[in-house]
């Protein structure tokens, strides 16, 4: 219908405005008649278009985006598009993936997403403050984690400045999350760069299918106060949603080393209080029977601790602010399911580090993405997805240093991708995905040209290919085998590519910190085998997996380069460099069950061992920063209005490199155990009160190379209307 409408309009307009043939002398009347005819034609066509449009708008229409809730009710299990871009039941998805449901989130008792995700085997959740987290997958733990792409309803919330996710600054109400989809393994072929080792897609409730109001208020230790609210309204015309919320708290007041420089002028003791405010508004409109339009606007700002991987995990404070706007169309057509989507993220980041809080810098970033894709079935056993994407990102920086630079890095990407799913038989399927990215880069700002890199170095092009291939075999409805290969691409961060700063040390010498536009993307490849079995006698599912992963062109933090002369003074250059390779292997075993009596459990063990090349070990030391063993055990019980849930978690030791301002030093963190729990009581159809806590076993727990975390206890009241 869209095609018909647009082609009719296009024809009418072209007909009306096509230049008239040259009028011959004495033929003015004929020309006037021809013009009048064309004006009449145009008027009639415009009238027809308006009439058709009004008629379409007046029809009772049905939204065409995926109704996760209806599909989950139908198939008895969550449905996802995160594995291949096409809808699939989670048990049949050709990837090692976990879906956290809204029930799982509620029972976790957590009011932040990383705490919920810490229950998934294979993920490493590193905490460096009350609301500061980094989430790694299959090892490679580090601050500002670049390997795990994070999206909310398909929109990137991963920040390209350091290549990381600011978990304290997401514009989402945790009570509005339908499911969190976590894919472990390279997923760049579907999601693009930085889904190099995995992807987390947070799916919220679609207002076209779910209405109601949910409000939560939480009070707790560390003077924590949060309030979150979401209102959804749906009708035959679609739906609208409004969410808003915020957090205030005190930072943990645990002992810190001299180089934990999260000090600001206002809080010289290193306890800048974390804050968060967000608001988001979205709408889904059923424009025609099979055509749906959607729009979304978000605003979020936060203050939280920050650990900087470009500077050997130095610690500071970040003040982030982000706006986004998105629009899209979904059309269930005779040519398949066609969707197009465009969004703009504008992010402002202010970093305060280096101990005094007086020294820092700020960045402004824009990310614009436009995507169009078509998914369709060929015959009865092939599903095809083709997609085109354009991506623009830029980075501006301002320093609070003595010599000011004004870099403006601009990068453009064009991508082509495709997915082919072949249902070979009832028991066997073969899925393949491939993506080609082409990047052009330039420096549009003002940089020093007497250092290591100049404008010419920025004017270059890069290309990269990502791929996934998986064979699944299900000999029975209870057994599933998977074997797969993935190739992911991890782009250098904007700061690694485009930073520019010259610091004058009293006129004696300079420090010249530069972005390196010549960095190669890190390529992450993996091989994995998985087996899962539904054990009805235990009301459980057993999942096992093994993987081997290898990374090439790993980028180190800013390292000393050659001494250059700038303005007649010697300057020690510093820039990020590709420093070699690393590989890792490991596996997971998980038994997850839910008995009709109301008892549920989830026991898992995961192992990962990373081996770095010599240079990687010297400058990054992934093999030391990755805990090898994780043990998790969750037990819950529901009876009537009561819910009881508890979890225990044991993690082995790590050695992480950290910047002590003068030297890089390894910081050892011993193995630790932590206990969490929640008791929930639903005292009416609308209201639930819950008492929950994390790190309950001791007053403070050293969970990483950053300051220890404190015990937290929260009381929350949730209303649903």
């Amino acid at each position: 219908m869209l095609n018909l409408l647009s082609s009719a309009g296009h024809t009418a307009i072209m007909t009306a405005f096509r230049a008239p043939a040259p009028a011959r002398a004495g033929n003015a009347r004929a020309l006037r008649e021809r013009l009048e005819r064309r004006v009449r034609t145009f008027s009639l066509s415009l009238g027809s278009i308006l009439a058709v449009t009004v008629t379409l708008m007046a029809q009772p229409a049905r939204a065409e985006s995926m109704d996760y809730g209806a599909l989950e009710s139908l198939f008895g299990e969550p449905v996802t598009t995160a594995a291949t871009g096409t809808p699939q039941r989670v048990s049949e998805a050709p990837a090692n993936m976990t879906i956290i449901t809204a029930d799982d989130i509620r029972r976790s008792g957590s009011r932040n997403i990383p705490e919920v995700l810490s229950r998934i085997p294979g993920l490493d959740v590193m905490r460096s403050g009350l609301s500061a987290y980094d989430i790694g997958v299959r090892g490679y733990q580090q601050a500002t984690q670049p390997r795990m792409l994070v999206l909310i309803d398909g929109r990137q919330v991963f920040l390209d400045d350091y290549s990381r996710t600011d978990w304290s600054n997401l514009p989402v109400n945790i009570d509005d999350i339908r499911q969190i989809e976590v894919v472990k393994g390279a997923s760049s072929a579907l999601f693009g760069s930085n889904a190099a080792s995995g992807v987390i897609n947070i799916v919220t409730y679609n207002p076209a299918y779910n209405d109601g109001i949910v409000v939560n208020t939480t009070l707790g230790t560390q003077h924590q106060r949060t309030i979150d609210a979401t209102a959804r309204l749906k009708g035959a015309w679609g739906g609208v949603k409004l969410s808003a919320g915020g957090l205030e708290a005190h930072e943990f007041r645990t002992p810190r080393s001299p180089f934990d420089g999260n000090i600001t002028p206002e809080h010289p003791d290193g306890t800048e209080p974390p804050k968060h405010r967000y608001v988001s508004a979205s709408s889904v409109l059923a424009v025609a029977e099979n055509l749906q339009a959607n729009a979304e606007f978000t605003y979020t700002r936060s203050v939280s601790n920050f650990a900087d991987n470009t500077d050997f995990n130095i610690m500071g404070v970040q003040r982030d602010k982000s706006y986004s706007a998105r629009g899209g169309l979904n059309w269930d057509s005779q040519f398949g399911s066609i969707s197009t989507n465009a969004y703009l993220n504008h992010t402002f980041v202010r970093i305060l580090e280096n101990g005094t809080g007086e020294i820092g810098f700020g960045t402004k970033m824009n990310l614009f993405v436009w995507q169009i894709q078509d998914q369709f079935k060929l015959g009865t056993s092939h599903i095809i997805r083709v997609a085109v994407e354009y991506r623009y990102r830029d980075y501006k920086q301002y320093n609070l240093e003595t010599v000011i630079q004004h870099p403006h890095l601009v990068q453009n990407f064009v991508s082509l991708s495709g997915t082919w799913l072949w249902q070979i038989s009832d028991k066997m399927a073969f899925s393949n995905a491939i993506r080609f990215d082409h990047e052009t880069m330039r420096q549009a700002g003002e940089i020093n040209t007497t250092g290591v890199f100049d404008y010419a170095d920025y004017r270059h092009k890069n290309s990269a290919i990502s791929a996934n291939s998986t064979l699944t075999y299900s000999p029975t409805s209870q057994d599933h085998f998977r074997a797969g290969y993935g190739r992911g691409v991890m782009l250098p961060s904007l700061i690694q590519n485009g930073y520019s700063q010259i610091t004058d040390f009293g006129g004696a010498f300079l420090i010249d910190v530069e972005g390196n536009p010549r960095l190669k993307p890190t390529i992450v490849q993996d091989l994995s085998v998985d087996y899962s079995r539904r054990v009805d006698s235990l009301s459980s599912t057993l999942k096992t997996s093994l993987f081997f992963e290898w990374s090439q062109n790993i980028t180190a933090p800013f390292l000393n380069g050659a001494t250059v002369i700038i303005d007649g003074l010697p300057a020690v250059s510093n820039y990020a460099q590709n420093v070699g390779a690393s590989h890792g292997w490991g596996g997971e075993v998980q038994l997850q069950g839910n008995h009709p009596s109301g008892i549920r459990w989830d026991a898992s063990y995961s192992y990962v061992r990373v081996t770095d090349g010599d240079v990687v070990k010297t400058f990054i030391n992934y093999q030391g920063s990755t805990p090898r063993h994780h043990l998790r055990f969750l037990l819950g019980y529901s009876t009537g209005p009561w819910e009881f849930d508890g979890s225990a978690h044991y993690v082995t030791s790590t050695d992480m490199l950290r910047n002590s301002f003068v030297f890089t030093v390894p910081v050892h963190t011993g193995g630790y155990a932590s206990l969490s729990g929640r008791i929930g009581y639903r005292f009416s159809d609308r209201y639930t009160v819950a008492l929950s806590g994390t790190n309950l076993s001791q007053r403070m727990t050293q969970v990483s190379a950053f300051p220890a975390v404190e015990r937290q206890v929260l009381v929350s009241l949730t209303g649903k209307f």
Partner: protein, 177 residues
């Protein structure tokens, strides 16, 4: 001797169990009825409001009548799925004129034949069965089996005959025949 007899006994038990399970799985269970009704929410255009759901049975066939009874029981006074309410109406395979007014038909195993399929197709009725062979043969639009895992088959031929269309996302999750 004992070992041999025991082996035969085991084999016979497994065979009997398998046959019983196959027969049981072909009967329309309450879960099948629910899954069948839920699959209707993916029709284009969507069904809404109060809709008559015929239950087609073979008179004189005890199994078919029992299955029809079970379906009627599962639908109750009207099964509500979103904005759709399915009202049951039993229709004998001998009197298919009773399909008039229905938009959906649950077809019992013994009643699924070409005559029923043709009568339903003429009236653009969506036919639902728990027998996978029904969709396989193009006699039903949808076949549902719900144990231990919900499996849905959709017959392209039956869809075309009844002029029925499902959404693309739904079709990517089911087995099309």
């Amino acid at each position: 001797m004992f070992g041999s007899r025991f082996s035969w006994l085991c084999a016979a038990s497994i065979l009997a169990g398998t046959v019983t399970a196959q027969l049981a799985s072909a009967q329309m269970t309450p879960n099948n009825v629910l899954a069948g009704a839920r699959s209707l929410s993916f029709l284009q255009p969507a069904l809404s409001g109060s809709v008559t759901a015929a239950i087609v049975y073979q008179p004189g066939n005890g199994a078919s009548e029992a299955e029809a009874q079970a379906i009627e029981h599962a639908l109750g006074n009207g099964l509500v799925i979103g904005s759709l309410t399915l009202k049951p109406k039993k229709v004998s395979a001998d009197a298919l004129a009773g399909l008039a007014g229905a938009k959906v038909a649950f077809v019992t195993r013994a009643a699924s034949d070409r005559q029923v399929a043709s009568a339903a197709a003429q009236r653009s009725i969506i036919t639902i069965s728990s027998d996978p062979a029904c969709a396989q043969a193009g006699l039903c639009v949808v076949s549902i089996s719900s144990g231990p895992k919900v499996q849905i088959s959709v017959s392209k031929a039956a869809c075309k005959a009844s002029n029925v269309k499902f959404g693309a996302a739904f079709l990517m999750l089911v087995k099309e025949i």
